[in-house]
């Protein structure tokens, strides 16, 4: 049943780079009173205390492995057993500086962890919910007890992207594909890593609006070409090699405002790809200058279809009041995929006022569009894809239960790679962590190979979580979950599941 996943042998663990510095607990060793007896090293089963062979002193505690003050109930609790009382364990102040209401510190840390191990989170893990007090964070599944250990190969997590009667078939192995992040907004290494993972998992990634770098050509069966309003880097051959072409009308984080690459990130390489002048700010205007009606929109889709009849057509729109009418219009104009991008989604740069205030959150839009398409009698012919604030495996499942066929993610992949969500992607040379930047001095921080493993591990963990969920509901195919709002319940803020 698992034929759609072509190459998903589990990736070996990747070295932990992030969890070392930011952890839930601080383990403090008083160097003045510690006599380096090493008892703690032999006590701790988690590996917090270590000494390099031949060294006198112990290494600084590996706090990421510590389970915290609750360890006090164990007889191996280092703090109680230390003969000189040199150890203390307390919540880490640094941990509280990480994350925000939507991406809590718990969620970021857990994403890093599954990116390192590929192992799923339990379905009731606190990191499955944010603290935003609404939407996905107040929706939970009515999860029945586990029925034995599910065999992941027994479950299908694939979805068909072309649900019309005509046209090429395109099935992806997981109900997730990568959203558009352009060359310029992220580094070439990040783009390449995403494309490699897309191939491994038989899914897709997207060029974003910044051209189609040659490095992605080997993965072209898994790379969506985005056609956005600035038409940066859009050429005949980039459309011809794509299995799917995505029209970006609007982006959820800045609906109705167009794209924006600040001049410092427009390096000569980026400019060449975009056929623009280096170090000028690049605006992708809003809207398409040639589209002022559904008829114009259809003309656009026909134009792509004539260049590449084998490509599926996806239309990415934001979530206005009348989002259901937009979805219906897109379908009749010829789109295979209606891609709704909700207001709380990620971005490389957007006015703060737009992120919270303009257009509705994706949770509302999915439900509204799904119901309306059903009423119109065309739900079976449309693939409804949701994005914009989908952070983890359970968000994906909830989006599907609300009525989407699948989702698009961006930020979750970046967090898996090592993003801390500091929100400075737009400034200066870009991301200090070397992800959302093309600055050569910054981007060396990340190796393509490591990024591939981390993102692939993320997908692996997510897939196992979905299998767990399907197993409990007695389902064997993720498409059976679609529209099952009866399996959801509203929970007060702060309840895990």
């Amino acid at each position: 049943m698992n034929d759609d996943l072509c190459d998903t042998e589990p990736n070996p663990h990747v070295p932990s780079q992030r969890l070392k510095a930011v952890s839930r607990n601080a383990v403090i060793r008083n160097e003045a009173s510690c006599i380096s007896c090493g008892l703690c090293e032999s006590l701790c089963p988690y590996g917090v205390h270590r000494r390099i062979e031949g060294h006198v002193h112990l290494l600084p505690p590996y706090e990421g492995k510590c389970i915290g003050p609750e360890c006090a109930k164990n007889d191996f609790y280092c703090v109680n057993r230390c003969p000189t009382r040199s150890l203390s364990v307390k919540p880490n102040v640094t941990f509280t500086s990480l994350g925000d209401f939507r991406w809590t510190s718990e969620m970021i840390l857990s994403t890093w962890k599954i990116a390192e191990t590929g192992q799923p989170l339990p379905l009731d893990h606190p990191a499955n919910m944010g603290r935003s007090g609404g939407g996905f964070d107040t929706l939970a599944f009515k999860i029945p007890a586990a029925k034995g250990n599910p065999d992941p190969d027994r479950f299908s997590t694939s979805i068909e992207l072309n649900r019309r009667k005509e046209g090429p078939r395109l099935k992806i192995g997981i109900p997730v594909y990568g959203g558009g992040m352009s060359y310029g907004s992220v580094s070439l290494k990040v783009m390449t890593a995403r494309a490699i993972v897309a191939k491994q998992w038989n899914t897709l990634t997207c060029t974003g609006e910044g051209g189609y770098p040659d490095a992605l050509v080997p993965y072209s069966d898994h790379v969506v070409t985005q056609v956005a309003t600035g038409l940066f880097g859009v050429k005949e051959e980039t459309i011809q090699r794509a299995p799917m072409v995505e029209f970006k009308y609007a982006q959820g984080a800045k609906p109705g405002l167009g794209g924006h690459l600040l001049y410092e990130k427009n390096t000569p390489m980026v400019a060449k790809m975009r056929q623009a002048v280096p170090y000028t700010s690049l605006f992708s205007p809003f809207p398409f200058h040639s589209v002022y009606s559904v008829e114009d929109h259809k003309k656009h889709l026909d134009w792509i279809h004539s260049i590449n009849p084998r490509a599926l057509l996806s239309v990415k729109v934001s979530t206005p009041n009348d989002v259901e009418m937009v979805a219906v219009g897109s379908y009749y104009a010829g789109a295979n995929i209606v891609h709704l991008d909700g207001g709380y989604g990620g971005t490389g740069a957007a006015p703060e006022i737009a992120k919270k205030n303009i257009a509705q959150p994706i949770e509302y839009a999915i439900s509204k569009v799904h119901k309306f398409l059903e009423k119109e009698g065309i739900r079976g012919d449309v693939t409804l894809i949701a994005s914009g604030g989908i952070r983890n495996a359970m968000d994906v499942a909830k989006a599907i239960a609300l009525g989407a066929d699948g989702v698009v993610i961006g930020t979750a992949e970046l967090v898996a790679i090592g993003c801390v969500r500091c929100a400075n992607c737009e400034s200066g040379r870009g991301c200090p962590r070397g992800i959302a930047t093309t600055d050569p001095q910054l981007e060396v921080q990340n190796e393509t190979e490591v990024m591939v493993r981390r993102v692939s591990n993320l997908y692996n963990a997510w897939r196992l979580q979905w299998c767990d969920l399907l197993n409990r509901f007695g389902m064997d195919d993720i498409t059976q979950l679609r529209g099952r709002t009866d399996l959801l319940r509203r929970v007060p803020e702060g309840v895990a599941q």
Partner: protein, 458 residues
Amino acid sequence: MAVYKRYHIHTEEALPRVAPVGKFDIVRAENCVNCGTCIRSCVYGVHKRDEKDGRSMAEPLSHLCKNCFRCLMECPQRALSMSPGKVYNSLGIGVWSPQRVFTMWNEAQSGKIPVFGAGYRGRFSGPGFDGMWTDMSEIVRPTRDGIHGREYISTSMSLGRKLRYLEFDQQGRLQTAVPHVIELPLPMVLDATRLGLTDESLKGMVSAAAHIGTFILVPVEKTGLFRGEEQQFIVPVLLGGTLELSLPESTRMVEIRRSPGWESLMRHVKSARPDVLVSVRLNAGKDVESEVLQIAKAGADIVHLDFGEDGKEAGNDGRWARDALRSIHTNLVRNGHRDQITILAGGGIAAAEHVPKSIICGADCIVLEKALKVALGCHACPDCKMTCPADLKTAPSDWVEKRVTNMVGAWRDQLLEVMGAMGIREVRRLRGEQGRAIFYEDAERDAFAGITAAERSG
């Protein structure tokens, strides 16, 4: 021939006068070995060597920290830690959240729209204006190339009564007396009556109002400080019940309180100075809908609705301004009086988005009050303490002018962003357009009706 001039607020950077506040505190522990790795890892310049002794590290410049964690992760000694800024977390109260106060400071400093990467970080929704989203339009756009593009989005609005119809006699001569209206270039006026400003700061604010081209409400006893050009931007606020009429020639509008005898005071002003608009200030509270209607019927030009700085009506069961404004607007429309009165709304206006949202709910124009002080670096403490952390008493007027102008300029640009996204090219059209917003209660009902609520436990 009149030369077309596009309205634009010129802004100029105005740095803070006191030590900047950081969102995060970086602490370097004792076990630092002064290796300097953090200097290389920080792209923002938080870590530097001690200027006097290059062998050791200086105190981290926490206010420059942008939360990237790189120095923490790269420190071989793990000597660095980060915590949410203590001062930052103590800023403001209620709707005046630390994030909003901090944002206003930055707007007042740079005059620019705050732009950041990554997605939204805050709560899903919230009470009052946080429980609504503005609409956007996928393909209809007034401007083809950004908000400052070729096609103009107008933020002008008119203060004063508008007629529902005109009457002519048989010879076709106009019989109706056309009331006087005043056009403002943006739907924001400043209110300095209750801010307790020094004369120096007040002068700065009046200059800012003149620079922007909008009104500023000033206590009548302070109006004597101003001469010449600036007088026309001043709205004297008559706090007492009587008036010795010595309004300067250039006064265009006055404000009176809705206290006993207000109607005769209004008639008095109108008979002495028919060219002056009268605004009636009213505390929003119980029965505000019928009071506004009454004020409109009595012939006032403008009603200034005063909400609390918590964004609510007075009283324990006061509604949020969002709900009160919708109800007031709807009530006026229903009674056929909406355009006979201009609604100014103030109180709890703590962020740029509150301007378009108030207008969508039914206000014509927004009154900025506490925000003006925050623009000067005020921490929005619950009470003014003995020692002001922003040292407002010594603020020079030219700096005050720049800060206030910058913030209002940034807010107007953000109003343009919201209108641009909606495909609305005139702010007058935004007023009361409740159908172009998404309200939390409606959206919840439409999307989640049928999903059962879990039993509340604990």
